[in-house]
């Protein structure tokens, strides 16, 4: 079955993408599967300069999920372009750069650099990281600020599809979604992690050095599904759903509420070849359901 999807200028052979921050620079997973099988590879969030991230402990396990406060550790855009990107199969599978910056100007500078790189197929703008002091989620919580960053990046990189990644830590995600659409976003991805916390009553300390972090994994899936459903109802641009997807069934749930594609995040930690198996399992499940095409299945949720 043909499961290819068109995300407004970004053509994917299937709707299964990796989620930024859970798949390294893609190369980490090459020993466990064929990267060319994936719909797209979204790499770890990149900043202009390398970042060392937050002090450990940075991760802690929670029921059906985990909290992280990595703080966007990354090699920086220059080293990514020099030492990582050349080894990714960009001619066979779109490579999507995820961008993090501390201000709109820096976002634009970074977008211009990555926009010039032929092996990068699209940009995903992270206006939703809860684990850094500046930038990140402060852009994603205010519709004006989100639109401003979107416009700046759009101007700096007019030629590549622009994905804006939204935070669930907002009053009404539909407002932010509409705002970035009007500002020129081609695609919306959601959700980033939900703000969360874990503490130890024996040591009386937080379980993360950063005290608070972002919750991900199957625990957040119902929240993500609702928000994807809501956003799909108010925007005309393609939506990428993510949040706790671990199986082909989970992926189809997001597509049924309106998503064009999905990203696999925390599930990559459960088993490094899980994402590759999902690519094989998706058409099998669609066939079992008697679905003719992904296109027909998308948004087919029947509400009373």
């Amino acid at each position: 079955m043909n499961t290819s999807v068109d995300l407004g200028g970004l053509r994917l052979k299937n709707p299964i993408m990796s989620a930024s921050g859970t798949f390294g620079y893609g190369l980490e997973f090459a020993p466990y599967g064929d990267l060319q099988k994936l719909g797209a590879i979204v790499v770890k969030g990149l900043s202009l300069q390398p970042r060392s991230g937050n002090p450990p402990p940075r991760i802690t396990e929670t029921p059906c999920g985990m909290l992280n406060a990595i703080g966007l550790q990354n090699v920086g855009v220059e080293k990514f372009l020099r030492e990582k990107l050349p080894f990714l199969p960009a001619d066979k599978t779109p490579v999507i750069a995820n961008l993090y910056a501390q201000g709109a100007g820096e976002f634009a500078e970074l977008a211009a650099i990555l926009g010039d790189e032929p092996k990068v197929s699209a940009l995903e703008i992270n206006i939703s990281c809860p684990n850094v002091r500046c930038g990140g989620v402060q852009f994603g919580q205010d519709p004006e600020a989100a639109a401003f960053v979107t416009r700046q990046v759009r101007r700096a990189c007019p030629d590549k599809p622009l994905i804006i990644k939204l935070s669930p830590n907002v009053m009404d995600i539909r407002v932010i979604a509409r705002s970035v659409q009007e500002a020129g976003a081609d695609i919306i991805s959601l959700i980033n992690t939900l703000g969360g916390m874990a503490v130890d009553i024996h040591s009386r300390k937080p379980r993360l050095a950063n005290t608070v972090g972002g919750l991900s994994g199957p625990a957040v899936k119902p929240v993500a599904l609702k928000m994807v459903y809501e956003v799909c109802g108010v925007v005309d641009i393609p939506v990428i759903g993510l949040g706790g997807i671990c199986s082909a069934r989970d992926a189809l749930e997001f597509i049924m509420v309106g998503a064009h594609a999905v990203q696999i995040g925390t599930a990559n930690f459960m088993r490094p070849d899980l994402i590759f198996d999902l690519v094989d399992e998706l058409p099998v499940l669609l066939a079992e359901l008697g679905v003719e095409s992904l296109e027909k299945f998308r948004g087919s949720l029947e509400t009373a």
Binding site: P31, Y32, P56, P63, C64, I70, T266, N268, D273
Partner: protein, 261 residues
């Protein structure tokens, strides 16, 4: 069945649990798994996640490779939390997802003498190393432990080795053990190389004394990991030359001089 999902430089296998062997205490268990096709270097580790966990616990668990023979792969586990508790009650014949061999193991040379310092569960990576070494007489081991010695795979180590075990049950014992480590590190210093593995407070003592004496040493660190393959960035340790690095791919074995503990 040996179901290999992908065959490149590393593997993710679904292996069968052949059996469990409790070492005289319900919190210490040896897991015997169907042996993988790959070979390993002592100090390398695997990630284990039973198929039955489905969505909870979400993470696999990292374990040093204790020993590998043509019949089995052996993992030594102490129950310290939910994941290890579930593993210790895993049912023989159940399927466990296992990927490895991961990380950098100990760099070894057969003609060199080694002083092995192990704290508690830190003995695990040395079991295969000592039992498979062609000249175990070149190996000395100082083993510190909290629980009874019978809980740990100590007595099975080759008799040709110089072995010393010391139990610590209180602060005084710990301080005494610290002094023994200091003396032994100073005495051995440049006769060969020191290899160490154990909990962080133990490694910090070893680290301090090897840096003081300048003795060459390789230390294996234990950190919290979500993926084991370099993606989650949870397992970082501080190094002198590169700042925070992932212990799963750049470690878990590091030169002592490179680590900031």
């Amino acid at each position: 069945m040996h179901n290999t999902c992908q065959t490149k430089s590393r593997f993710c296998d679904r292996v069968r649990l052949l059996g469990l062997d409790f070492a005289g205490h319900p919190d210490f268990v040896h897991l015997y798994l169907e042996p993988p096709s790959w070979d390993y270097t002592p100090g390398q580790f695997v990630m284990l996640r039973p198929e039955i966990w489905v969505q909870d616990p979400i993470w696999p668990r990292p374990f040093s490779i204790c020993e590998k023979t043509p019949e089995y792969m052996r993992i030594f586990v102490q129950v310290v939390g939910r994941g290890t508790s579930l593993l210790s009650s895993a049912v023989p014949d159940s399927e466990i997802n296992m990927w490895g061999p991961l990380g950098r193991g100990f760099r070894l040379s057969l003609d060199k003498r080694y002083l092995i310092l192990a704290g508690g569960m830190g003995i695990a990576p040395f079991v295969g190393l000592c039992k498979e070494h062609p000249y175990p007489g070149k190996l000395s081991l100082i083993f510190g432990h909290r629980m009874d010695r019978s809980c740990y795979p100590f007595d099975e180590l080759p008799g040709e080795m110089q072995r010393q075990s010391m139990r610590q049950t209180n602060q005084e014992d710990m301080e005494h053990f610290g002094r023994v480590l200091q003396e032994q590190i100073a005495r051995f210093a440049f006769k060969g190389e020191i290899l160490a593995c154990g909990p962080m407070p133990f490694l910090q003592v070893v680290h301090k004394h090897v840096l003081e004496t300048g003795a060459p040493a390789q230390l294996s660190v234990e950190t919290r990991m979500a993926c084991g393959v370099g993606a989650c960035l949870g397992c970082v340790v501080e190094t002198r030359s590169q700042g925070l690095v992932q212990s799963c791919v750049q470690g878990p074995v590091f030169d002592a001089g490179e680590l900031v503990l």
